[in-house]
Amino acid sequence: MATNYPASRPGSGKHTLSVLVENRPGVLARISGLFARRAFNINSLSVSPTERPDISRITVTAEVEQIPLEQIIKQLNKLLHVLKIVELDSSTSVERELVLIKVAANEHNRSDVLEIVKLFRVRVVDVHPESLTIEATGAEGKLDALLGLLEHYTIIELVRSGAVAVMRGPKALSEKVVGSEVTGR
């Protein structure tokens, strides 16, 4: 038990948390501050509005041990603006991420890169005599595999949106969550 912290260590399992928060100023600062203070290294964090104007949704992925993860969830629950936290299981949820990759590709190797694009069923969104920009969406594994192949060419620029995820089936996480009509602070 004494070895719970730091929460994130090499070799820890990957977890995805969906955190519903009040859509109020400063909420994100509060949550990211908690991660930093409790030594919780996150792989990605994305935040966006939701189907309800009073609620924002934060998706966090992190490699962390189970016991410190429980502690982090409890600590998150103590924040007043946090309404609900769910750990999403990959078998019962859909997880996607968007990545934009600018690859150095000229007339000599462009067709090789396009071959990979075709194989992965991703799209080219910009072409330049010296580069190709590829847009890809998918789960983390697919994107990692794509990037692994593209590594053999020069990746000029890379940007990932961070994972977003929803539960499968007809239900919404925000069901039964009491929101706040106050959005002004």
Binding site: A2, N23, G26, A29, P49, N77, G184, R185
Partner: protein, 675 residues
């Protein structure tokens, strides 16, 4: 599907037009500042601490002669915060402080962090520059919200005057409910000056805040079973029981189960010390019976406590044979440091109220477990290892004796306050605590300078809630006291009969003790030169000639310092003087009395568990480790307590061998801050 709305979560300020849509705009018209003062009145706040400043001036302008609360003006914002804490602990009410923006707000952050660590209910209102100036690095602007988030239970920013009553009602409720804590309300000057319509009570909108107070039945049944099948139980009671006012329940549980009670630093006095079932304080400077009982227990019942490293020592050898029942209102504390076999989330008093009848029923059916062998073992420790101390070898006073005498001579209703350091540990060990809410001390944060302002707050609380019938004694160190000594002015101006005992050993004693024990007597930067026995005070007449040898004078002279602030200053270097001074202090009723007790600088706090060590290596006094078979492994190699013997020649090897090297201990970096 609704269209996405603007995402506010990033910014500090609300979007234009996001407000007023659903808000009630009927009521009495006034400014936001007036609404804040009115809200405090309507919340029933009777005492407020603080200091005015530019960005909070409208609020101070709204405090008038007929305002319903007493305002106590301190001399530093940190002191306003600690005073609010002392007030809250002594009365059980929410402490309130109002300070200005920028440096006013940053100054009070220490007190906010202290209140967070010790779960003290407090609302701090800070001024903030106008909403239009936020983010421009305006004069006296600080990101108070960002600074206080990590060290407060919650922080609010008010940019709209119409929000004032609701935010104040929410802040007050959050501070005092669930696990109590400090709540910050950052109040922009523009909102202070804006018109609003005041109505009370406002509707609180807190969808994300639902503290659990009552435990469900299953865990209570499991806890009952553990009680029935355990033969070495211990009730390990912490500050949470104090906050929940659960003294009576703890006492009933102890009577019912015949389990011994240990009380942590923040729970001292929850059950009277004279009770034979109370074994004293556990932890780093705890008693041998308390530490021994925890270590050898088979059932550890943690009641409103958080398994602090000061109590557990090395976690993997803490109470190794015990099953753990953990009762706490904060779910995040359960299994944080030590896995709980039976986790019970709820208000300690309510949980015990529900648990006791279940145990009674089980005992009626199956009888009580036999604890005779357990009590034989405990009584053996109690008999063999009472608190004891070495007499000074230089003719000065023994600090432990001074504190014992203070306790003996004082009114039994006395509220005791301490700073942080050796004197705090001695006070915790040697004062006879007979009442709950009568011991105010900075535990988790260990904030030196906490004492005097907290004592001022306790005095205000005593006057408000107990008709001034509870006298307040502050036991402080010469180092700790100097961190907030300017508050003597506050105490004098408010006609407070505070009694202040400076346990003056002329050094940062706790740090020096560690230097003696772990750093080979290298006394780096711990001498204060304010209480040497052999030297005198500087002459008071004007003399511009160079001072020949500054080391020959005590600075400050605490007696003259007290007098400069209008207080009575006394000095005691002998037991006779000490007794006389205590008598005088107890008789004064209109102003503070300060006594400068000159004590032995080599006195050390024992028992002691070195930081990062197992509780089993508790040292009763140098050379005696009762839980390691009575005799230590390295008898003779340790000579740390008698620095007279530790001359420079042998200082190098004096402590090596028996003590873990504090400089390499991984888990004790925090401990090294201790003073």
């Amino acid at each position: 599907m609704a269209l996405p709305t603007p995402l506010q979560a990033f910014s500090a300020l609300p979007k234009e037009g996001a407000q007023h849509e659903k808000q009630n705009v009927s009521g009495e018209q006034m400014t936001g500042a007036q609404a804040l003062v009115r809200s405090l009145e309507d919340l029933g706040v009777t005492d407020v601490f603080g200091i005015p400043g530019g960005a909070i001036l409208p609020v101070y302008d709204a405090i008038k002669d007929d305002t319903k609360f007493r305002f106590v003006l301190t001399r530093h914002e940190q002191a306003a915060g600690h005073a609010a804490e002392g007030y809250a602990v002594s009365t059980g009410k929410v402490g309130v402080a109002i300070v200005t923006s920028g440096p006013g707000a940053t100054n009070i952050v220490t007190a906010i962090a202290d209140a967070q660590m010790d779960s003290i209910p407090m609302v701090v209102v800070t001024g903030q520059v106008g909403a239009g100036a936020i983010g421009t690095d305006a004069f006296q602007e600080a990101d108070t919200l960002g600074i206080t988030y990590p060290v407060a239970k919650h922080s609010f920013l008010i940019t709209d005057a119409q929000d004032v009553p609701r935010v104040m009602a929410e802040a007050y409720y959050i501070a005092g409910s669930g696990r109590p804590g400090p709540v910050v309300v950052d109040f922009t000057k523009s909102a202070q000056n804006s018109p609003m319509y005041y109505s009370w009570p406002p509707e609180k909108i807190l969808p994300g805040y639902n503290p659990v107070e009552k435990a469900h039945g299953r865990v209570l049944t499991e806890a009952t079973e553990l009680f029935q099948t355990s033969h070495r139980p211990v009730l390990y009671v912490g500050g949470g029981a104090q906050r929940a006012d659960a003294g009576k329940q703890v006492e009933r549980l102890a009577r019912l189960t015949n389990a011994p009670i240990v009380t942590t630093l923040t729970a001292r006095g929850i059950v009277p010390e004279s009770d034979p079932q109370v074994l004293g304080m556990p932890g780093m400077h705890g008693t041998v019976p308390a530490v021994g009982a925890i270590q050898q227990s088979d059932l550890l019942v943690a009641i409103g406590t958080r398994f602090s490293d000061r109590v557990t020592g090395r976690l993997d050898s803490f109470a190794p044979t015990a099953k753990v029942i953990h009762i706490d209102i904060d779910p995040a504390e359960i299994s944080k440091n030590r896995k709980a076999d039976v986790p019970i989330v709820g208000d300690v008093a309510k949980v015990l109220d529900d648990l006791i009848p279940k145990i009674e029923a089980a005992q009626a059916e199956n009888g009580k477990p036999d604890l005779h062998a357990w009590w034989d073992q405990i009584n053996d420790w109690v008999k063999k290892y009472p608190l004891s101390y070495d007499e000074p070898t230089d003719g000065s006073l023994a600090p432990q004796w001074v504190i014992q005498e203070l306790s003996k001579q004082a009114d039994p209703q006395t509220i005791w306050v301490a700073g942080v350091g050796q004197h705090q540990m001695w006070a915790s060990q040697y004062i006879d605590f007979e009442n709950p809410h009568s011991w105010i001390s900075s535990g988790g944060a260990g904030t030196m300078g906490f004492g005097l302002p907290a004592a001022i707050g306790a005095q205000v609380g005593s006057e408000r809630s107990f008709g001034g019938k509870k006298p307040v004694w502050l036991i402080d160190g010469d180092g700790s006291f100097q961190m907030t000594s300017q508050e003597l002015a506050t105490a004098f101006q408010e006609s407070m009969p505070l009694k202040i005992a400076i346990i003056n050993n002329s050094v940062y004693g706790m740090v020096r003790q560690w230097q003696t024990l772990f750093y080979k007597n290298h006394y780096s930067q711990t001498s204060l030169h304010d209480g040497e026995l052999s030297v005198g005070s500087l002459p008071t007449e004007v003399d511009t000639a160079p001072i020949p040898d500054k080391q020959n004078y005590d600075v400050p002279d605490f007696v003259i310092l007290a007098q400069a602030y209008g207080c009575i200053g006394l000095r005691a270097t002998t037991t006779k003087e000490a007794l006389e001074a205590i008598k005088i202090a107890n008789s004064v009723t209109d102003r503070p009395v300060l006594i400068d007790f000159r004590v032995w600088k080599d006195a050390m706090v024992f028992p002691m568990i070195p930081a990062g060590s197992s509780n089993d290596s508790i040292i009763y006094k140098p050379g005696v480790e009762p839980l390691n078979g009575g005799e230590p492994s390295g008898v003779g190699t340790f000579s740390g307590t008698s620095p007279q013997a530790a001359t420079p020649a042998d200082a190098g090897s004096a402590t090596a061998g028996t003590w873990p090297d504090a400089t390499t201990g991984a888990s004790d970096s925090a401990a090294q801050e201790e003073k």
